[in-house]
Structures are given as structure tokens and as C-alpha cells.
């Protein structure tokens, strides 16, 4: 890996140079909550000043740019009794992501495993993913972040460059030649020994700030053993089956497909819509049989898929510990608590 260091003001230059020629997506403040804390989201930006590099976790990940909530898989032209199918992967330009946190980068790495590197890669995802240029940025851990437990607190790959705030300057890790070339447009330096020390100090500082924890030892096995545990029922009683957790999760990718005919009867479309395994009809089949009719069985499934099934298939869990689902869940169902209760096997 190649490292460089540059003055903070240079970042603005870099942004302006990149934004002049590319579409850039970054974290911005979209409002304040009741306690007057800022609410952040990823949107397209053209002004460096609107980007909030010190943002805390966004409510929603940058999902719409790689897994849109609704996406046409294909469209049809209908003529008499014949039809013509057109497939469009809905990617037409590269996007620069200016400031993704490690958890969100790791989320993409996990998605890559199933949507890009496994059998039947999904071109709709791949087309977008291959056109992402990612500038990562370090974060300040929030009380709900348990990414460290999930091994997602640092990103080792899946980005083009990653910047770390060292006070007056940024330390940058460069992974791709594209990033290397981009950086030629601003003034950077070779980091010195003291910069390395500064970097390690800052990392150590950050590590201290992780408070939320999940014990993942033997988790896949424990989940299996506790399949019939009563704790699931207790969580299920609270769950609203609203699907929010899956929608805000950077790694949830399940979907449903709907075909519709346009009202002029001349065209039709097949649309993919992100779904959530907590919704009542997730496993419902023709004739009305539902393989998971109770809320607790669906909630349990979400944990099984993430912390057992995915581990079995890809040696890691499908959760980066960003804590978004727990923060957005109105019922207060949080991953660390659920897992602790399953491990404890005791009543909450």
C-alpha cells in the first residue's frame, strides 16, 4: 500500500478538481432531529462546503446508489401477441463517493461476496459497483457502533483511497492507480516517521471510543442451538414487522419482483423492489401458505441469515455493526441486545 500525507486545505482542491469532471456523492446534513442533533444523508454534491466530513452515521446508507429500493430489471414492448425485452443495468456514469466510513466500505465488500463473486453475479449491482470510486474517511465511533466486534471497524480493501484526519493534515492510504493519479493534482508528501506515529496514535484514540460490543464467539453454533429459544418470541412480540431494519441496513439485499403492464397496454416492466424478511409476506407462497407466519420466526430468520447462513457460505457474517437498524427500530430491537439475550438464553 502506498501512503501520502497532505494539508487539509488540499482536500477542497481535490474535491473541486474531481467534481468538475465527475458526479460526486457525499454526506450532507439534511435536517436536525428533535434534540437538535444533525441528521445526515448521502446525496449528490457539487459544493465542498456542503459535505460534512465529520458526519456521524447516516440514517440510511448510500444504498440507493448500488442497490436502489426500486429498480426496473427489464422493460417490454408489447405488440399484438409478441413482445420485445430490453435489459438495462441502470448505470450510466461513474460516481465518486467522497467520505465513506469503514463500516460502509466493508458492507460493500460483503455484498460483493454474494452479488459479485458468487455464482450468478448480479449485473445490476456489478454495473454500479464497478463504477464507484471510493474515498474512505475515518470516523468517530458512536455509542451504538459495534463494528469492532464484527471486524468492520477498519477497511482494508474495497476503496480507492482512504483518508485519516491527523489534526491539520490528512493521512491517505492509496489502493488504486486511479486514486494515485488523481492525487497528482494536489500537493501531497511522503509521510515521515512522526506521521506514522501520529497515525497510530489517532487509531489508538479511536479504538478507545468503541463501547458497544457483541460477543461473536461460536455465534453460528449458538444460534443453531438456540433455534427454539423463548427469547425469540419475546423479541417478536415487540417487532412491528415494518421492514425498517432491512431498509436502513447497508448489507440487506433481499428483494421481491413485480411485473406491471403500463396503462396504455403497449409496454410492461419487471421491477425489483428491496424487501425485508420481517415483512409478513416474505415467505408466503401461492395458496396463502406462509413458511414464517409469526413475527418472531421472521425476526429470527433475519439473524440466522446474517450471523449463521452467510458465515457458512462466506466465512463472515452479513453485518458490519454500523448499528443503524437498532437506531432506526422504533421498537428498540438492537443487534447487541438480541444476540446477548440469545447467548444468555435467559429472559429479558
Amino acid at each position: 500500500m502506498i501512503f501520502r500525507i497532505f494539508e487539509k486545505k488540499e482536500l477542497k482542491n481535490l474535491f473541486e478538481i474531481l467534481a468538475a469532471h465527475n458526479k460526486v456523492v457525499g454526506p450532507v446534513e439534511i435536517g436536525k432531529d428533535k434534540q437538535c442533533n444533525p441528521i445526515y444523508a448521502f446525496t449528490e454534491v457539487s459544493d465542498f462546503n456542503s459535505i460534512k466530513l465529520d458526519y456521524t452515521t447516516t440514517k440510511l446508507p448510500a444504498k440507493r446508489y448500488f442497490l436502489p429500493f426500486h429498480e426496473d430489471l427489464s422493460t417490454f414492448r408489447i405488440k399484438d401477441n409478441n413482445w420485445q425485452k430490453t435489459i438495462d443495468y441502470n448505470a450510466d456514469r461513474p460516481l465518486i463517493f467522497f467520505g465513506l466510513h469503514p463500516c460502509d466500505i466493508n458492507a460493500l465488500n460483503k455484498l460483493d461476496k454474494v452479488l459479485l463473486h458468487s455464482v450468478f453475479p448480479m449485473p445490476y449491482y456489478v454495473a454500479k459497483r464497478k463504477n464507484m470510486f471510493i474515498i474512505g474517511i475515518d470516523c468517530v465511533p458512536q455509542p451504538f457502533c459495534f463494528c469492532r466486534s464484527m471486524g468492520s471497524d477498519t477497511a482494508l480493501h474495497g476503496f480507492d483511497m482512504f483518508i485519516t484526519n491527523l489534526g491539520t493534515r490528512y493521512f491517505v492510504e492509496i489502493l488504486t492507480d486511479t486514486a494515485y493519479n488523481f492525487l497528482k493534482n494536489i500537493k501531497t508528501e511522503e509521510p515521515k516517521e512522526k506521521d506514522h506515529i501520529l497515525y497510530m496514535k489517532s487509531a489508538a484514540e479511536r479504538n478507545k471510543k468503541f463501547t458497544a460490543k457483541v460477543d461473536t464467539t461460536d455465534l453460528a453454533k449458538i444460534l443453531d442451538m438456540e433455534f427454539q429459544s423463548d427469547v425469540w418470541k419475546q423479541w417478536g412480540d415487540k417487532c412491528l414487522a415494518c421492514g425498517t431494519c432491512a431498509n436502513v441496513c447497508p448489507t440487506c439485499y433481499c428483494y421481491g419482483v413485480e411485473e406491471t403492464v403500463d396503462i396504455n397496454l403497449k409496454s410492461a416492466r419487471k421491477t425489483k423492489m428491496l424487501h425485508s424478511c420481517n415483512l409478513i409476506d416474505f415467505a408466503e407462497v401461492a395458496g396463502g401458505h406462509n413458511f414464517r407466519p409469526e413475527r418472531h420466526s421472521r425476526l429470527k430468520y433475519r439473524y440466522y441469515h446474517k450471523h449463521r447462513g452467510f458465515v457458512e457460505a462466506f466465512e463472515e457474517s452479513l453485518c458490519v455493526g454500523c448499528g443503524r437498524c437498532g437506531e432506526s427500530c422504533l421498537a428498540g430491537i438492537k443487534v447487541p441486545e438480541v444476540i446477548a439475550s440469545v447467548r444468555g438464553g435467559k429472559k429479558r
Partner: protein
Amino acid sequence: MKAKESESKTYLGIPLYRPKVAFFEFSSCEGCQLQIINNENTLLDFLSLVEVVNFREAMTEKSDDYEIAFVEGSITRNDEAERLKKIRKNAKILVALGSCACFGGVNQLKNRFNNIEWVKKQVYGKHPIDTAPVRALEEVVNVDLRIYGCPIKKEEVEKIVLHVVLGKSIDIPKYPVCMECKANENICLFDLGEPCLGPITRAGCDSWCPNNNAGCWGCRGPAEDANVGYMKKIMKEKGFSEKTILERLDCFGGFAQFPELKKKGKH
């Protein structure tokens, strides 16, 4: 209301059935019918799919020969119930149009008063007036299809009619509004300190109110498997009064079957 192209439409070579449709209204604001005329962009395509034979709000001709009856409004007088039964006899498919028809809508709010005489006196003084407790259509006749919402969403009506014409099954979302709200990337109203019934209300409106930064009032009734009991608890924990919660839940009548709502007003 005949479309010029009288040749029948086909889809993938299959001739489509062009149903004769009629619109009727009972106690309501007639807004749902208005919504149907309100889709200026697709109205002509829509009209070519069906043959409208009865639409009092827009046309003078009327006919009793129809297959689909769209019925708006709730039943608040006995003569209305009789009229509805006649419509049921004539129609193959009876569609309840909007929350008034599906649940009684805002009209059923008067049912929360035990004393109907008090209600009458509030508005008409001593003048005798004929009224009965408000009923949803299905409390009087069988209803084949329900189009939820106050008001209905014109896109949904179009979709349902199109599906009837095509012979496709009609899928109204079973999940709650939050699902659509998240896809629309709204800030959750609870973060802003506002109440919202999105987590327990049936989706399909594309989170209309939350998109406009206004909390959901449950006009489409409960989602399937709605966890009303726990939702009430959550709202209380978030600092909303019992009154605020109940006023939202009882506003359109959709949640009437839940035990959480079985309390009546004092009059």
C-alpha cells in the same frame, strides 16, 4: 361514455374484457371520485379500458347495466342501505372506494358517542333528522375489492382496474407504510418528535403523508399483522399522550377491530 376506438383491446393477443363500470356515492366528501377525474395525464387511457355507464358527478346518462360498481362513502341512513343492496344485486364486482366505504372513514367518528340524540342536537337542535350509526359497506353487503385511502391514490385505482381488465390478481401491500417511507428516504417523523402511524398502517400510498413531513393517521387501515398494542406502548414511551394516540387510531375507522380502541366517548 364510449371511447371512440370501439375495437376491443388485447394484451399479448388475448382479448381484454372491457367492463361496464358505474360509480356511486354515499355519505362522503366525493373526493375519491374526484381523484379519478383528477388523473389528467392518463385519464384517456383509463377510459379506454372501461366503459363508464354511471357517474353522477360527471354525467347525466345513467344505466343499471354494469359489471363493476365503485362505491364511495359510508352508510348512515337506512335508505342508503337499501340503495346499496340494489347496487350489489346489479354488480358482479363491488369495489369499496376509499376509507369511508372500507371502514366508515371520518364519518364513523360520530359512532364513538353512545348517545345519538346528543349528536343530533349538537348540529340540528330540536329539528328531527334521520340518521343511523355509520357503517362500512361490508357491514351491509359483500364487498369484493377494497381500495383504501383518504383520499384514494389514483395510481392505485388505475392499477387495480388494469389488473381486473387483464385478469391479473390484485395485490395490495400487506406490509406497513414505513417500508415505502424508507424507500423514499424521508426523515422519520419520530426523529422530529412527531407521531406517526406508519409502522402499523397498510402501505400502498407511497408514504404520502410522511413524504410531506406529516405523520401518518392510518387512513388505509391496519397492515396485516399490525402490532398495534406494542406501537401504542412505543408512542407512549416517546411522550405522546393516550389521547393523541387514540385520536389517530380512531380517525378513519380502520383500527376499530383492535382491543386497543374499544373505548367509547362519554356522550
